[in-house]
Subunit: 299 residues, 6 copies
């Protein structure tokens, strides 16, 4: 019997597999880590979605939530999610560690346990801040009919929730995982908030698609921004090898109670003063004094 | 034997669970509804995806569709989806009802059944309008090679399909559910159409990411818009308590056969007259007479 | 016993099913293909996600990847994915073929097998180019801490990976499937690259939401672009029936080492000369000479 | 184009569907119940498997069980399972009720709620009896290395666990559901215990395949039986229409501390006296006095 | 960094894989079939479970079955299941065919299509016979409270349903698949009926564990048998090479209205005459005249 | 609003949870292990099913197996399954270990790695023996049409496959896991082989339901047994506390080329001599010399 077309195709299979598994072109840099496991994006995403269900008990996950059974469901979910998260935090730590303590790396495991415990302890505080964000969303959009609606439907609430969780992990020194979390929110909402940014309470992003908030941004309280707003870097200095210098403060400071309308672009380490209103499509690369209203000549 | 690190972590568990389940910070407002179930986002999304498969029979879901088996598959899917949708509509109605008829709320159940029946009866009409949208997509994009391609791939078609379903539920008085549907489309496509907006047939959005169409927009027939277009509100009046007044007509009217290019922003209750062409990145806050062409000075 | 509300609803079911299955309004154009199967979007998406896991071995999918087991996992995944992809390629070919060889269409099956074999052979080359894109992402963003982070998290890497796979299928003459692939990336990232576009190595898109790259674009090597950039068509000629003429070169040429900042819009068959820098929100519809810096008067 | 073979097949489809949906041959007797839902075997099975995980906390389901998190997991699982079980109990009640209160049948719903509450209250008692069964299994089999092993692996423990749950529902007056539960255990273990049988504590079935314990059996404490043992009815009287008369006491009484070896068959309302030993393959249809040893002449 | 224990283990991996994939010890006899696909046990099982749901509409699968939606669900399920079954029948045919028509084997494909069509046409007849079996189960067991209970719970009904489907495929000349079906029933119920056996209507097996009914059995109408009954072969002749001669009639004939009690063993091509009663644990290797009652001396 | 019936039920929830989590009745003996994880039955079952697919490449799992892709699929599956199995072996070891080395127990982890490596190395030998069992099944049953059919369908092959894997783990000193494996086979087939038994090559069990083979059985080569056969213990001595003494040789020795027909029971440490034939339903508690034929007087 002659060979099938599948069999013909498979004549190339072994060769192509060998090519794809060659380390010379740099796709296998993880091999240098000697068997330490890489984080799993799917596990991180599952964990953070479960965390959302305990921060907003009754809105996601179990549908028959009551005052009586709430603690059981929140406790069981939280216990499960923390075990999964601790494993991912450990992998994140091992991703950058220099420990010479073998592939299982007990040092990172122990640090992951400490961080996870601390993260758990901070969850009530995160929930309190999110409650102010929900309130801000309800007040900031005439189309919102209740705070529940904003929790259920508003992409801005989702993005800020994921950001606040990721930011807390960031301040606890967890590498990589926070960025995976915020990029998942970016994929779902089109809102791209770097977990390193600092954002005060009562923060509201409406519609949100195309919003970019850079790593070293500092945003005050009660700020409202709309779709397409960029809080970015103007340019970045290179080192002697032509590589970008990492970690320089290069994004805007937005003070309390500022409103930034859709499509506005603010670049560089500039300050938008308290209570300012930045109009749509405006392009700003300089400080704006408190109480200003900035609009384009076209509006 | 000493305690594991998991056990150490769990020493905080009970305390944090108690904190997260406190109602004082307003995250548990649903408790006031006395055991009535909240809508399930996952159920709504599953229902609307199944509805898409019956509106475009053969394109999604069952792959071996023929003239002979089509009615069986469409009928079985539709029956299943309507049972699920009715339950969600009932939860949506209970979300805002003031009935004092106990936690099962037979009043809302009955109204949900009537609405679901009416929604079912309107599906053929929705399909007819969507057929005109598909035709518009094919004619509106030189890269489209067939109407089938637009059904399979075009985010604009997906967003408009979900919008038309959500809008019909909106006009039938269903709370919350329509918004969950359009926000799901927003997440998939970056196109944010409020279900309250009114949009005529032969509507085409190309590329689409960043499009925002507000709650009180009125869009005529044969309109074409591109990515990044905002049809938004200019500002919104507050009541005596500083809260936004809900329900005011505050978004644009776009008349028949208008084209709006990428990045254009049109704000407030202004009218873009019939057959006008709005250029890219233009910022408009006033009426535009029929037949106008508006471009920025930069193009 | 009286009828339930479900039964009342179902009284309309048969009628609505008949309406939805009528072919007159053009929703059933696939019926003309005489039983040939349509592509399955889910199958294509699953295949391309598996391909990503073999192009970046160890980052996605199997988590305990080592030098020893890598070839087994890559080989098993590749074998499985190619069988699935060949079936979808065959359906894509049948989607447009005029073969009179019966519903199973052995001609398309054979061509699909040849294309799949050729596509397999090209995967190492695709991987090599992607390795340059990953390097470009790491160098192009001061916030990137390692190349691994860009592979894990950066939407730009995901969009370019899917584009390069889709583009290769495009050059092999596969209809429809490439577009399904890039639209899936569009949904996940907000980055809309037409598979027909031609893009050189070391390509980096940062943040990315709202980027549109049209069908006939030609982009050189080492180009970097930011969120909200449109490389689009200015307008398109209609034929004598008022339909757009398909396949005309109508999108920009971007030469090597160009940088285009966020929100810039470049329309029509214009050339952006080598090493030029295009500022944010700029609107361009004409050629730009090499080495230019273009900014708006507002910045 | 000619029809595919699938299409030829489908020419019979509509006709066969009509035949299968005819009610005349008695397959659609549920139609007489006017829309009341039938129990779902899958839901019942899922519920009873979850119940097993709370009766033996830590052995099935969640693997990282500790003293700290146990209550959360047991509580969350129990809450979920009871909601599902109540729905199935309600359907079981409606299966036989004559209420004229419409298709939703609030009477059965209320009774289901009362029964579910009572069943919940009895779970600790069921757990206590099961603990004696586990102890009996460990002591009764020289191959058992720990009580944990009997919980993990012994089909006898599984069958008795499901029986004790089903029996409790039986005594609470739930129709149909108890039988679904014991038949699921029968499928998994080959042990067929009717939920109506009465069985004392410290009961152990070793190996178990082929064991049959009939509806009206009464089994004392500390009884041990082996594979292939039948405790059945000898014959059953018919009524005037030739139908079997339901509910007559027709199965054996087995007193405390009896052992019955493999393949023994005991039929009819006979009594096996306390501390008797019944040898393998013995056939018994008469009373056996206490302390007897019965063997076949062949052994 | 030193190697992990996983890496040490993997040092054997390639060697063991090579050993396992050697064809010399006869585990790879399918290689001789030149790329033709083997049947998939999972697909067959899924198909036959779906068939059960259409033969007993409303009892398994869709729970909200009504007179109005029944035809849609039955039709959709049947269409789906037949497509899957046809593929498996084709693989079964190719399993034994000698066609030299290449690996896709269009001859077997065409025959599979004809068989599937014929099998579909016979389903109503199968349903009619099953309705008599259900009636027999209800009348044959005093513990049965309704015919619905026997459909839901009785392993005998499940085993006979799967047997009747498998037997019909058997008479249509399908290899392998019928045996996969009856062995699945064997696994679920402990009842092992060879698909080649011939069984009349109104057949009832009670409890059933351990029942064996051989390939060439002929069973009349209205027969009732209990657990542990064997209808087997006495011995089988060998050919000149010492291999068993296949296909000889070697199992019992059981005439109409016979009852066989638990544990009875009947071996060889003997005839149990009409209306006979065979007692428990009896061992029979000779003809029994009509109307006999056979019991062991022990009972 | 009044409370729902769910809420009433939940008033008992907290109390019942507390009762179920009390350790005094002995259900929580694992608590004494200080946080060490119990084995997961589901994980063990999944692993052993995957092992079956690599021992019989092409029959289970991947359906498009060819000579070219076989090694990739076998290698990838084997790598995955061994990682999972090693974890379960480690838990099994910790189940009985007395190490004082903390809850992670590196001693057991290391031993699990060594055992898993050794088990891997033995797989080819296991496959060779299974090939003789398959051959024996084909030759031993006139109804078998090919060796492939026995691999696909015969419960005897499944039970022996799982037994041989479990037995190898048993001889490597793994606690608990082997028993979980054979009890899974018991559930699927009704064949209960203790993993401690020793069984020679070319072993065939036909039909199999109800077969029991005890812990200390020794079975020679080319033995064939039928359904309902028990190779059990006659009785077992108790120690001074009335507990059974574990580990005594108490089951039969069956020499080469013995055949044991259905329902036969052989008890105690007796020897069935080479080439003997034991008839159906025979009861044996003494040595049988080689070449004997034993039948009941009833046959």
């Amino acid at each position: 019997m002659s060979k099938t077309q599948n069999q013909v195709r498979q004549s190339s299979l072994a060769h192509v597999v060998n090519e794809l598994c060659k380390s010379e072109h740099g796709m296998l840099s993880w091999l240098a880590r000697g068997g330490r496991l890489l984080p799993s994006r799917d596990q991180v995403v599952e964990a953070v979605e479960a965390l959302r269900s305990v921060l907003y008990p009754g809105y996601f996950g179990v549908s028959e939530m009551t005052e009586e059974n709430m603690r059981f469901h929140v406790g069981a979910t939280l216990d499960r999610v923390l075990a999964a998260l601790q494993e991912q935090i450990k992998r994140g730590l091992c991703f950058v560690c220099n420990h010479d303590s073998g592939p299982e790396c007990p040092d990172c495991l122990e640090r992951a346990a400490v961080i996870t415990k601390e993260f758990l302890d901070r969850l009530p505080k995160i929930q309190h801040v999110l409650a102010t964000d929900v309130q801000a969303a309800y007040l900031g959009d005439p189309a919102a009919t209740s705070t529940d609606e904003t929790i259920f439907c508003y992409p801005g609430i989702l993005a800020v929730t994921y950001y606040r969780l990721a930011h807390e992990l960031c301040t606890l020194g967890v590498p990589l995982i926070p960025r995976i979390i915020t990029e998942h929110a970016h994929s779902l909402t089109g809102i791209d908030i770097h977990p390193g940014a600092s954002i005060g309470e009562r923060f509201f992003i409406d519609h949100g698609t195309g919003v970019v908030i850079g790593e070293t941004c500092i945003i005050g309280r009660n700020v409202r921004i709309y779709q397409g707003v960029t809080l970015g870097a103007k340019s970045f200095p290179l080192d002697e090898h032509g590589n970008p210098i990492k970690g320089i403060e290069r994004h805007p400071i937005v003070e309390d109670e500022v409103v930034i309308y859709s499509g506005a672009t603010i670049l560089g380490r500039v300050t938008i003063g308290r209570r300012s209103v930045i109009g749509g499509n405006v392009w700003i690369t300089r400080d704006i004094p408190p109480g200003s209203t900035v609009t384009t000549s076209l509006s």
